[in-house]
Symmetry: C2
Subunit: 536 residues, 2 copies
């Protein structure tokens, strides 16, 4: 028997219409070259409709991929809604990718048009000759260093000028593609994740949950995370749906500039990767700024170090550890203390806040033994691969034939290794491919690295497994000393430093002192290169 | 182009699995004859699975309507999930309906089995002979006054005993019916609203939004609203999904008993109709109770009087005005002050809190002129019928051929008359059929009644339109004096009292003093009866 409820599709058109009608006076603030650009949802709504008309009149259609190459600005927020509400697909390009990856991505997605911020024009010009499907460039703002290689191109303001200020959106099925974003793996080509209206809508509801990021009309939201990273973690869509005030930093990502913007605009919620907040914490040691309006910093992308959680706590700032991937829209879990954890000693609270926490409603998970394929016990110590499923989790990549194994039995295999406590709180311990297996037991390279980097003479450390006849694998620590300690640090003192903190068999078999840890295009340790170097 | 996200259905099975796995230690507390019954989600989950097995083994199948006739208890909460997770349909019967309506509803729904609380057995026995489809009764708890007319019957605990404690739920489409509830209109037969898994799931997310009821794991929820009224406003489903602690009052609805339970269990959120809170406010004038844990009282079902909002505010209690109908799952709007209203003077705050407020995400609305069918301007004064649509709004009634006009052009016609301010905040002024049309202008009977009932000599007042040759209709006030003032109150003093508060043409044409206002089965003024009496 079927229910008798309306067959009303979950689309971004609903969010757009709601925002424009119900929150017309709410503000969207952007830092620009000239200072502050400020307008209301009412104006944003009109310009978004104008943009939709301009795209439609220029011949772009439902299903077309429309790319952006830009910072977090009001124009980007117009594109975030105009494109999917038209039925087209917003493809946000990561401005930090290597040129060859960008070329691959744009050609793989078959982007028809690229909207590019003026200051990024030279970057795009360097690859324009290799783009096979792009028919039009739209330049947002001044492009002082343009050499004119983007052709044909038009200025954004001219493009949308004189268009009608409302749009009668087409009827869309909720499974229509809304946006796409490529992941940059360490192996193979980048993979395109294609979000649907339904997935973005549900994810926005998730971000708005009291036990999600609790985004509300009363919030002022500053996404530091780029709008080209997994929809800026869904905060733009959710914030527009809830009627939040937005503060967008443009290309001004210096910690002091961001903190000043937070103070001036009374930001209540921010989100970004740990690097940003590590920089801000250092800056706050020197500068006096009133950030008392900030109720939460949502932080993910890589594990949040406990030292950062404690440091921000000392400044009365609340950082919330979140976890997700491009394939998970991305918010899949976040660490909010449970009701029965609120009165724990501070030491215990920090330990819990360093976990990736509780999955959101709509996210189902299991943690599977990497050899037997069986679910591991929830004992907070058994290792297994984290696998997730749900309505905002990817089921496949775009135009890809290599990755079927990533989506096994209806689950996304995250490649992350987790332990789970008896209440289902998750903690990630490593990537599956980076775990070291010694004598049949797992050693977390991430945990060892974190410990070694806590030693005062160490700048960076990466741990890899090296083949061992007796134990099958043993950990090797690759260590970069701080400049003052080059040649002044020994294997023995590192082992001695580690000894009280880990089981004896976790202690690295050897320590190699290196000049630098090789990195991938997105700044993560490239252990593939290290393994190749040390295999013998 | 379609998105590439998982086709994962939104079902209550997800909420059940989540709750049992992630929140095993959270409590469900019920007041019973014997004091307090207390168990954890872990035990609730086991018993819910046992109940599902018992139903399955007794031959009940997907699509079967399984009815409940009971109070808010842990057993009712087991039924709330066991039945829909099986693919069957939970039909909650209103224990306060007239016998003939109950008979109609049970036969119309074709209920196969009824779960009945022990103390309610005599009520059900009185109609058992007329029930055509019921094959089984299950009695929950002791039934001291049973005469044995419910046949065959079994005790709930015996029914579920010795069944396995987990259930491998069947795969369900998200549009599968999950629950049904009949509305009791003042005309015609009751109408059955059939909720789907999708609608209940989305509504639960809505209840969990920071700008919804913000239900969270940290909340302790006490639904005073009966579980037979539109799913107790969705709080049981949402609370289970979020991991809230539950406190269920059973049949003990006396304001003092409820307040004591709130104080003892540190309840943070309660919900119920205004009558309950009016009674509690009076009780709090006499009794000292610590209700400081209570962060919000969600109140709807009928308009919340401003005097109640103010009175609770003086006790440091925050009442939130919500609006919905059985057909809207029911939460459609609630009144949370906007960011730019927080610093208004208290007088203004109370005026705003008396509105029905802002629709939730997923709820779309329009307010339509009752004669032209055009949308009225959002000027906070133009009257029109409120119409809503969305994924948790009914599109039709069950086995009904009379009500097509209620669902026009994809909208539910609520029968409520609203004004809207420029930011889309709603205020209901009347029911369409109760508005008085005088000289081409509308007069709100509800507003006049509210004013008249503020006069110190008046107990109750109902305003109806009576035919008038010149003005087409004019308002007649039917007034019940307080016992001390019978014969001591005149038409003139009521008119004089009203004069400063309303436009001259709103003043009642006449005042009729009556002994009582006739009421419907659910306690609302029955203006149909009044109109018949005063038409001449």
């Amino acid at each position: 028997m079927q229910g008798l409820m309306m067959d009303y599709p979950l689309t971004l058109q609903h969010a757009y219409n709601r925002a424009v009608r119900i929150f017309p006076r709410k503000e969207i603030v952007t830092r620009t070259e000239d200072g502050i650009h400020r307008y209301t949802y009412r104006e944003w709504g009109k310009r978004t409709a104008q943009l939709a008309h301009a795209l439609h009149n220029a011949g772009f259609q439902e299903g077309d991929r429309i790319a952006t190459f830009g910072w977090n600005t009001y124009r980007h927020l117009e594109l975030y809604f105009a494109v999917p509400c038209l039925g087209a697909v917003l493809h946000t390009l990561n401005i930090r990718l290597f040129a060859e990856q960008l070329v691959y991505i744009i050609n793989n997605a078959e982007d028809k048009i690229i909207f590019v911020d003026g200051d990024l024009v030279p970057l795009l010009e360097s690859i324009a000759g290799e783009l096979k499907t792009v028919k039009q460039y739209v330049i947002m703002g001044e492009a002082p260093q343009s050499s004119g290689k983007l052709h044909p191109s038009v200025d954004y303001e001219s493009f949308i000028a004189n268009q009608p200020e409302t749009y009668d959106w087409p009827q869309l099925d909720e499974n229509t593609a809304a946006a796409m974003c490529y992941t940059s793996g360490t192996t193979g080509n980048p993979k395109g994740v294609v979000y649907s209206h339904r997935s973005v809508f549900l994810h926005s509801m998730g971000v708005g949950l009291a036990d999600g990021a609790a985004l509300s009309e009363r919030d002022t939201v500053l996404p530091v995370v780029p709008m080209f990273h997994a929809n800026a973690w869904g905060f733009p869509h959710a914030g527009i749906m809830m009627g939040s005030k937005f503060v967008l930093p443009g290309r001004f990502l210096d910690p002091l500039k961001i903190a000043q913007l937070m103070a001036e605009e009374h930001v209540t919620v921010a989100c970004g990767v740990p690097t940003i907040w590590i920089g801000m914490l250092q800056m706050l040691e020197r500068e006096q700024l009133d950030l008392s309006s900030l109720r939460a910093i949502y932080c993910g992308g890589s594990a949040v170090p406990r030292s950062l959680i404690e440091g921000l706590n000392h400044k009365n700032l609340n950082i919330v550890h979140a976890w997700g991937m491009t394939e998970t829209s991305p918010l899949a879990s976040l660490c909010k203390l449970r009701s029965y954890q609120l009165d724990l000693p501070l030491e215990e609270v920090f330990r819990i806040k360093a976990k990736q926490g509780t999955v959101l409603p709509c996210v189902d998970f299991r943690v599977v033994d990497m050899e037997t394929g069986q679910e591991v016990p929830w004992d907070n110590k058994s290792y297994g691969e984290l696998q997730v499923r749900g309505p905002w989790i990817a089921r496949a990549y775009f135009a890809d034939t290599e990755s079927a194994a990533k989506f096994a039995e209806g689950w996304l295999r995250t490649g992350d290794v987790a332990v789970v406590d008896e209440d289902g709180m998750l903690q990630l311990v490593d990537r599956t491919k980076d775990l070291v297996k010694s004598g049949g037991e797992w050693i977390s390279s991430v945990e060892l690295e974190g410990l070694i980097m806590g030693y005062h003479k160490v700048l960076e450390a990466a741990v890899i497994g090296i083949p061992d006849q007796k134990w099958s694998e043993r950990p090797l620590a690759c260590v970069v000393p701080k400049p003052d300690y080059v040649g002044q640090i020994t294997k023995e003192e590192i082992i001695e430093y580690l000894t009280p903190h880990v089981a004896k068999w976790w202690l690295p078999e050897d320590v190699a002192f290196v000049e630098a840890i090789p990195k991938t295009s997105v700044g993560k340790f490239d252990k593939k290169v290290l393994r190749a170097r040390f295999e013998a």
